[in-house]
């Protein structure tokens, strides 16, 4: 319809995607300004699904403080910035989280020579924390619940957090465990830092869209689901052409638009999911390419494995 986000995006010929200003593995520009990362890949898949070209994305770097406003004010069409799905954000902030692309939890990183092995031993510590995040609230709750005190050092960006932590200006750095891993991986001497076992919160990270345009929400949600489902069914960017021709699996056929025209229900064509998967591969491929164990970030799949593998990823059926 006129004025819908989909129409606007098509009219513009470009998807505006809000991302982190720079978190290696999730979203960061390289020396020539090309964006790469786990969140970036979702944006590209969405652009491919909607516009037919994974390159037609404009990445809008947002800070922890500007991200939701950027979304609600219409500056970005979708926010893929490792944001936690919470009750109040979904309701009061008028966002719609369209799913979870990374199940995370907040953890702590400390130097191993500090002799701390549990978060419970952090009483009185100085802790670096990014402002404007849920981690800030979790941290306050966690220390109160355990009757401990701490001194927060508020930082503005991940880069600054690393600087403070490295210089010893804080005893511990807290953020989502994935972020910690990414940060630790980039250190010159990763062995000398440990990530404490406690995960003090649930941090389901996912892309969000504005409240009120359900069709656009559906498109984003099912693009994510398509990526997850593709992994479940073994559809990869390499075998997809072949599967289009030869797949016998009706679910795969529907997903790839060879039988039912599911895309039309959302105002897209039949091959939307095919393009989304081709853009950067299925969920597993994206994960492996950006943050998986082969990358410097080196995250294990863990909770983010398919339900069939003991993880939490569970795409609803395509029918």
């Amino acid at each position: 319809q006129e004025g819908s986000t989909l129409a606007q995006v098509k009219e513009r010929g470009e998807l505006n995607c809000g991302v982190n200003t720079g978190l290696v593995g999730f979203a960061a520009p390289d020396a020539s300004g090309n964006w790469t990362g786990f969140d970036v890949a979702f944006c590209r898949a969405l652009a491919a699904a909607v516009l037919g070209d994974p390159a037609k994305v404009k990445f809008v770097p947002t800070t922890g403080q500007t991200r939701f406003t950027a979304l609600s004010s219409g500056e970005v069409d979708v926010l893929a910035r490792n944001s936690t799905w919470t009750y109040s954000r979904d309701t009061d902030l008028k966002l719609d989280f369209i799913g979870v692309n990374y199940y995370d939890g907040q953890g702590f990183m400390v130097r191993s020579d500090l002799g701390v092995t549990s978060a419970k031993e952090l009483d009185g510590a100085t802790i670096c924390i990014q402002t404007g995040t849920t981690t800030e609230l979790n941290l306050a709750d966690y220390f109160r619940a355990n009757n401990m005190t701490y001194t927060p050092v508020n930082i503005d960006s991940n880069a600054e957090g690393e600087q403070q932590y490295m210089a010893g200006a804080c005893d511990a750095y807290t953020t989502d465990a994935s972020g910690l891993a990414a940060t630790r991986a980039a250190f010159a001497d990763p062995e000398t830092h440990i990530i404490l076992p406690e995960i003090i919160s649930k941090e389901p990270l996912g892309p969000a869209v504005r409240h009120g345009d359900s069709n656009w929400g559906d498109i984003a949600r099912w693009t994510l689901n398509a990526l997850i489902a593709a992994e479940e069914y073994g559809v990869t960017s390499r075998n997809i052409e072949e599967l289009v021709r030869s797949s016998e699996n009706p679910e795969v056929q529907r997903l790839l638009g060879t039988t039912d025209e599911l895309g039309a229900m959302m105002g897209l064509d039949a091959e939307w999911a095919r393009r989304a998967i081709l853009a950067g591969g299925n969920y597993g491929e994206i994960f492996a390419a950006n943050i998986g164990e082969q990358t410097p970030i080196g995250l294990a799949r863990g909770l983010n494995a398919q339900w069939t593998q003991g993880g939490l990823l569970y795409a609803p059926p395509f029918r």
Partner: protein, 484 residues
């Protein structure tokens, strides 16, 4: 004894004494040292203190500078080289990061193959500014334009500009040099269209856009010509209306149609590719160019005897001056969309430019108001008595004098604004100071590098701002000498 002249001994000198050299301790280096460094106990202590400070600074930083590494691909490599060359404990600077990433600091994420375009844009800026800034002195113009021409063309060649554009730039620069020798005001038309050209060079896209933007005021001017006999006020209103309507209603479509008919475009570069000093300069130059006229209007409004106009100006100026710039930038990035019709979305750089302009204009207005207030009332009366109307009196009599008085203030406002362009980092733009350095540090190779980028960026800011302030001092002195 009451004779007045009793004590007078008449005296006449018949040979004039020659001028003698002062006593040794009163001349030369000794005297200089004595009067300038050791003229008393306090002074001697100060001198020693000063020397101590210098010694402290030099001894602390000398090693670090002396042991600097320019050739390495990562911080660790730097450290290895330093350790290998100057020993394990040596500390040294790793300017290799500048060498590796200078382009990011200078051009942001602008496409590498198009670096020549911003280069050319800012080179030609000098030509456009020549009639305005360096109008009075031929020798300065010669030096500035000469250096600009050489540097710009050299840089364009190095950056791989296409031959056509190289010729174009050379032609403009040579035209500027020629005009500078003859009559610099020949370049005024170029100065007038330069803003649009500059925008086109930087952002690219179709040339028809700027052309049709230009058509608007042209139509307005025609309307004004036609109506000015009837009523100047009506004519002005109509002219503005025509211009704005043309821009809003026709210009976009016309440009698209013209482009379809006759494509005239260069590669488009999106705003999100702007960063580093390119971003600072773009915002700074645009802000400077826009804030001066706006500031003049605000100052005149504040000086006006129309109560309503005056109050509006006062409220506006005091409001803008009363809040920090970064809250205005937050408004630009967070709130502007609330105030505009649903669905409007315009470029973040443009929004930042608008906010920076408004901010600088409020300060500018106060500076210019000071200049206006310094003008004697007789000047206004004389203009009135000669039959000049308000606008002519302002344009011909009042503003030239008021602006001249305000030059130091105007330039320090410019400098302040240029420094403030670094604050765009807080709305997610890649300023050279913080965001760009964070982006560089986000890479594994350069994690942990702080001082070198600060020094590099700081030095460039210093050069530009210091240059501006010296230029304003020169201008002030020259204007003082003239007219006297």
């Amino acid at each position: 004894m009451s004779d007045t002249h009793a004590q007078t001994v008449p005296f006449v000198r018949d040979t004039m004494l020659p001028s003698a050299a002062p006593p040794v301790r009163e001349s030369g280096a000794i005297r200089w040292l004595r009067t300038n460094l050791f003229s008393g106990p306090v002074n001697t202590v100060l001198t020693l203190l000063g020397a101590l400070i210098i010694w402290f600074l030099v001894s602390t930083f000398w090693d670090w500078f002396a042991h600097s590494v320019w050739n390495a691909s990562s911080l660790n490599e730097c450290r290895a080289i330093i350790a290998a060359t100057w020993g394990e404990d040596a500390r040294g600077a790793c300017f290799a990061v500048i060498r590796e990433r200078w382009n990011q600091y200078v051009f942001g994420f602008y496409p590498v193959e198009l670096y020549w375009r911003p280069t050319m844009t800012f080179g030609l800026l000098m030509v456009a500014l020549a009639p305005v800034l360096f109008s009075a002195s031929l020798s300065i113009r010669r030096v500035v334009l000469g250096i600009t021409a050489v540097v710009t063309l050299w840089a364009m060649v190095v950056l791989g500009a296409p031959a056509g554009w190289l010729i174009f730039a050379a032609a403009v620069l040579v035209a500027g040099l020629v005009a500078s020798e003859r009559n610099i005001s020949w370049m005024l038309p170029f100065s007038l269209v330069y803003p649009l050209l500059g925008v086109w060079f930087l952002w690219g896209g179709t040339l028809w856009g700027p052309i049709f933007v230009l058509v608007g005021p042209l139509l307005g001017w025609l309307a004004w010509r036609a109506l000015s006999r009837v009523s100047p006020m009506l004519a002005t209103v109509v002219a503005i209306l025509v211009t704005v309507l043309f821009w809003l209603v026709l210009a976009g479509d016309a440009a698209r149609d013209a482009e379809a008919l006759l494509p005239l475009s260069i590669d488009a570069v999106r705003s999100d590719r702007f960063g580093g000093f390119l971003l600072s300069l773009t915002i700074g130059v645009a802000g400077i160019a826009l804030s001066l006229p706006l500031g003049i209007v605000l100052a005149l409004a504040r000086q006006s005897d129309m109560f309503l106009i005056k109050s509006l100006a006062v409220i506006f100026i005091e409001f803008i001056r009363g809040v920090p710039l970064i809250t205005l930038l937050f408004v630009a990035s967070l709130l502007l969309n609330y105030f505009l019709p649903p669905g409007t979305n315009f470029d973040i750089i443009l929004r930042v430019i608008i906010m920076v302009t408004i901010f600088a204009a409020a300060y500018m207005a106060e500076v210019i108001r000071g200049g206006l207030a310094a003008l004697p009332k007789g000047q206004y009366e004389a203009a009135d008595a000669l039959g000049l109307d308000y606008w002519k009196a302002q344009r011909l009599i009042v503003l030239p004098q008021a602006l001249k008085i305000s030059i130091p203030g105007i330039v320090s406002t410019f400098i302040g604004m240029f420094k403030d362009t670094t604050l765009v980092t807080f709305v997610g733009l890649y300023d050279p100071l913080k965001s760009m350095s964070d982006a560089v540090r986000a890479n594994v190779e350069w994690k942990g590098i702080y001082w070198e980028p600060f020094i590099f960026v700081g030095a460039i800011f210093f050069l530009i701002c210091f240059g501006m302030s010296r230029y304003s001092m020169y201008l002030e002195r020259r204007l003082q000498r003239d007219h006297r």
